[in-house]
């Protein structure tokens, strides 16, 4: 009973927030001269539904035509190409989960770091470079002139070692890039929010410069780095082991999703089961209490910043090694890091919550991107998402209104102080 009630409490607020977000953005949708209902159906169908999805109902059950022309009702989320939507969402949540974890770890140490974008691109550029430079070096050392003709044993070893080194290097770079603002905070009391914003800007400019000049690989219109070596590539399922499975056909989801899920488990364990996680949580809960108890609060905060940076760096590395395989100019402004911050905030920094919120945001993003294929302006998608996020963040407000609503009783007598009607 208690459990049911808690679940209801936890679920009802987000659902109401989404509804309010939809109602509020109707104004803008109406301004664009399209029907709100149509727009929302389309948004959710493109985000979460199977192919052919047109109404909200189709999100759950959809009628499909069999090969012989007969109709059949199927459970949409698992149906054929409907599943490919799941694969797309999995592709999108891989970096989202990691950057959200990154934000949650920092927040749970009382460090309001939003440096995920900067750490993400720093991690990405690291592996974009190492992804070809490292194999080059190995071939040279091994005396192999033509990589195509390299011995199989060497290649197998490299397939294991190169990605590992790349991922570790990206984590180290992200960690350092996050540690610096942390150090400024601890030693000089520089506001983390502001310093991480600046660090993000620096990282974007730096990566832009590197991609345009030193690491530019060819005279392609848009500057880009050289493609990483095959041995560094984390082959997505649709190109590798599940090449024949329809589900994975359109999505570049790969080993990264498992790394992200493992990170969820590890971060949860770190925060809840280790003394190091305890130190950082106590530091955030009440730093006076932590210092009173003898907890080395500065060390705990810096450790949190290192872990946070490593997670974002890892996200950036997986985006390059598993999806992009190179950095094209403009990559640095993708904003995945900031979306991670949003996911962490919406999940109220709960590690399990991140697992629920990330797919939702990813699906909405997918839906918004695909809105334009109808006659609905693409920008509407962004507006709708923003409103939903805004209302989700107003949780306390909604909760207070709800309580007031339930408490409200029509027997209140305001006009007649001496009235008899107020009798209980």
């Amino acid at each position: 009973m208690k459990f049911l009630r808690r679940t209801f409490d936890n679920l009802s607020i987000p659902v109401i927030a989404v509804l309010l977000g939809l109602v509020a953005s109707s104004l803008f949708v109406a301004l664009a001269n399209v029907s709100p209902i149509d727009t929302y159906q389309r948004l959710f169908c493109e985000g979460f539904g199977p192919r052919g999805c047109e109404t909200f109902g189709d999100l759950v059950f959809i009628e499909v035509e069999n090969e012989d022309g007969s109709l059949q009702t199927v459970f949409s989320p698992l149906y054929g190409s409907g599943g490919s939507r799941i694969a797309l969402i999995l592709e999108q949540i891989t970096p989202l989960i990691l950057t959200a974890l990154s934000a949650a770890v920092a927040f749970q140490a009382g460090m309001f770091s939003i440096g995920m974008d900067g750490q993400f691109v720093m991690g990405a550029i690291t592996v974009a470079f190492l992804g070809y430079a490292l194999p080059d070096q190995i071939y040279m050392l091994a005396g192999v002139s033509d990589p195509e003709a390299a011995p199989e044993a060497l290649k197998t070893a490299m397939h294991l070692i190169v990605p590992l080194i790349c991922l570790s290097a990206a984590m180290a770079v992200g960690a350092i890039y996050s540690w610096i603002p942390g150090y400024f905070k601890v030693k000089l009391n520089v506001n983390v929010l502001i310093s991480t914003i600046i660090f993000n800007a620096i990282a974007v400019q730096l990566v832009g410069y590197l991609v345009n000049y030193p690491l530019r690989s060819d005279l392609n219109n848009i500057a880009r780095t050289r493609r990483i070596d095959d041995t560094a590539w984390l082959i997505p399922f649709n190109r590798g082991i599940f090449a024949d499975v329809e589900w994975f056909s359109g999505a570049r989801v790969g080993i990264g999703i498992f790394i992200a899920l493992a990170a969820v488990a590890l971060v949860w364990f770190y925060l809840r089961r280790t003394t190091a996680g305890y130190e950082q949580r106590m530091t955030r809960g009440s730093s006076l209490f932590a210092r009173f108890g003898g907890i080395p609060t500065d060390r705990a905060a810096l450790r949190a910043m290192l872990i946070s940076g490593a997670l974002s760096g890892l996200a950036g590395a997986l985006a390059v090694l598993g999806v992009e395989r190179r950095i094209v100019d403009g990559f640095a402004t993708s904003g995945v890091g900031f979306e991670g911050v949003l996911v962490a905030i919406l999940a109220k920094e709960s590690i399990i919550g991140i697992l629920l919120v990330a797919p939702f945001i990813a699906g909405l993003n997918l839906g918004a991107t695909n809105l334009q294929f109808g006659d609905i302006p693409r920008q509407l998608g962004g507006i709708i998402i923003s409103f939903i996020i805004l209302f989700s963040a107003m949780e306390d407000f909604i909760r207070a209104r709800l309580t007031a609503l339930f408490k409200w009783r029509p027997t209140r007598q305001r006009s007649a102080p001496d009235g008899e009607g107020a009798a209980a």
């Binding site: 009173f292 107020a422 209980a424």
Partner: protein
């Protein structure tokens, strides 16, 4: 006299903490009286008042105002019926002025814009009509706690409150402010208003209350005319047994020197020196009291001794070792315990559960963790041990502590700090805000620890407490230790004068002069 408020058969069960906070409570408050409500922490006083003010919905019972049953389900209803409440923790906006706070939500406006001139003028008139002068333009963050309280009271008077609920109004005030406050309460009662006044200080009840209601474990155990009960009788009724207001203790048997501070210079907030040239020595088996008006450097001295504040000059020696620049953890490991001034933010972390609170001083050691990983069974055992040993009511292993009462919170702090037989206990205002039963418990515990051979440094602004517990007494004034007396030479007057800035020499001089003036 007619009744202003009648509370009938109120019952409230908090399912989240499994506490029956109010158990069939009835109360009849007469118009124009000062009605005190006393009871131990957790007796249900705040809950009862919150029900009357519409903040908490009762499970059963009803409320009558001026003889008519009313339904109060929101503070707006309470205000509508002329009931106002000043909470234990003030709810003012620090960055707003006094006038803005008082008029919050009912601002006079001109074409939709707040008319701040009229606002200030109105507040000024209101304040003067009640004889509670304030400067409406001051900001809340710049004024004293006593003045903030006055603002809270004006705020409810502005809303025409006829019944004023004051929840532990004097707990946060200095003795001066308390005296002023009591006069204000009296004069408000003379204007025909009814005052419901919650307090722990039974002397205040004797001083201003007409009647007093005593609550114990959620029940009203009796309403009496205040003049019919002695303080001792009230204390016994509150706790439900005979409490000793005196502390029984045998003479100290001081042992070796445990703590030595030499010529400490410690900076306070903003880098301004708060402790000058302070030296003290503390031996095993004795209680050294530090008396002083609050804000004379006691807090900074304590923080320097426990390692939470750097020492600029001087030396601290603990058990023969120089710990001047040792960390909090190093000091704790060598046997220092600390009961801090503020249990809500320093002594405990109210955002987490009991287990994580009791383990904070020891989490990095076996058996509570092994190679950095928590061993929850051991931690739960520790929590249970503390709950059992100190009889912490309604605290449960693994559960949140934020709804526990002050006395129970302090028991958790004590239980954690006394675990493992510390050599030195530094206790800063250990009984602030506690009820008589809890105070008795804290005092008994500190004396027991002394008798077991610990050294105890007791910092308190309550002279009674210092006199009752200390074997020796140091007095702090303006950051300096101006005198160290033996308990036998200390009297309340002497300490009072020293605390106000007199020196020992001048006191001796005065005594000598007095002796000369009155020939034997």
């Amino acid at each position: 006299m007619t009744s202003a408020v009648e509370i009938q058969h109120i019952r409230k069960f908090f399912s989240s903490s499994q506490v029956l906070a109010c158990d069939d409570v009835s109360l009849d408050v007469k118009k124009g009286e000062v009605h005190a409500i006393v009871g131990e922490n957790g007796a249900g006083k705040t809950t009862l008042m919150s029900i009357l003010y519409g903040l908490v919905t009762p499970d059963e019972g009803q409320i009558l105002i001026d003889g008519k049953p009313v339904r109060i389900s929101h503070p707006n209803d309470a205000i509508f019926h002329g009931i106002g409440m000043v909470h234990q923790h003030f709810k003012l906006v620090p960055s707003f002025t006094i006038a803005e706070n008082i008029m919050l939500g009912i601002e006079p406006n001109r074409a939709g814009f707040i008319d701040s001139a009229t606002e200030a003028e109105k507040v000024k008139q209101l304040a003067e009509s009640f004889g509670l002068p304030v400067d409406p333009h001051l900001r809340i963050r710049d004024i004293s706690v006593g003045l903030q309280q006055r603002v809270e009271i004006l705020k409810i008077l502005q809303r025409n409150a006829q019944v004023l609920i004051l929840d532990e109004p004097t707990a946060v005030l200095t003795p001066q402010e308390v005296r002023e406050f009591l006069t204000v309460v009296r004069s408000l009662a003379q204007t025909g208003r009814t005052i419901l006044f919650i307090t722990h200080k039974l002397a205040e009840v004797k001083a201003i209350a007409d009647r007093v209601t005593i609550m114990r474990r959620g029940r009203n155990v009796g309403t009496h005319d205040a003049k019919d009960l002695t303080i001792r009788e009230m204390a016994n009724l509150m706790v439900g047994r005979v409490v000793s207001l005196q502390v029984d203790k045998s003479p100290a048997k001081p042992g070796e020197v445990i703590l030595q501070a030499e010529r400490l210079l410690v900076a306070g907030a903003g880098g301004i020196p708060a402790v000058f040239d302070a030296s003290l020595e503390l031996r095993a088996g004795e209680i050294l009291g530090i008396a002083g008006v609050s804000g004379n450097g006691q807090t900074e001295l304590v923080e320097a001794l426990v390692g939470m504040r750097p020492v600029d000059e001087g030396q601290i020696t603990f058990l023969g070792e120089d710990i001047t620049s040792a960390t909090v953890r190093e000091r704790r490991l060598s046997g220092l315990a600390h009961v801090p001034e503020d249990r809500m933010t320093t002594g405990l972390n109210l955002t987490t559960n009991l287990d994580e609170n009791v383990v904070v001083t020891n989490y990095q050691n076996e058996p509570y963790s092994r190679r950095g990983i928590f061993q929850f069974a051991a931690i739960r055992r520790l929590a249970q041990e503390i709950v059992d040993r100190f009889a912490v009511k309604s605290a449960r292993v693994g559960e949140d502590i934020k709804t526990l009462s002050g006395g129970n919170l302090q028991k958790i702090v004590l239980g954690r700090e006394l675990k493992g037989d510390p050599k030195l206990i530094i206790a800063n205002q250990p009984t602030r805000g506690l009820d008589v039963g809890s105070i008795e418990f804290v005092h008994k515990t500190l004396v027991e620890e002394r008798d077991k051979g610990s050294a105890v440094l007791l910092v308190s602004v309550e002279l009674d407490e210092i006199l009752a517990l200390s074997d020796r007494i140091a007095v702090m004034f303006a950051g300096r230790i101006v005198a160290v007396l033996d308990r036998s030479e200390a009297t309340e007057e002497k300490l009072g004068l020293l605390m106000a800035g007199s020196t020992l020499e001048s006191l001796e001089h005065d005594e000598a002069a007095a002796e000369k003036a009155t020939p034997v």
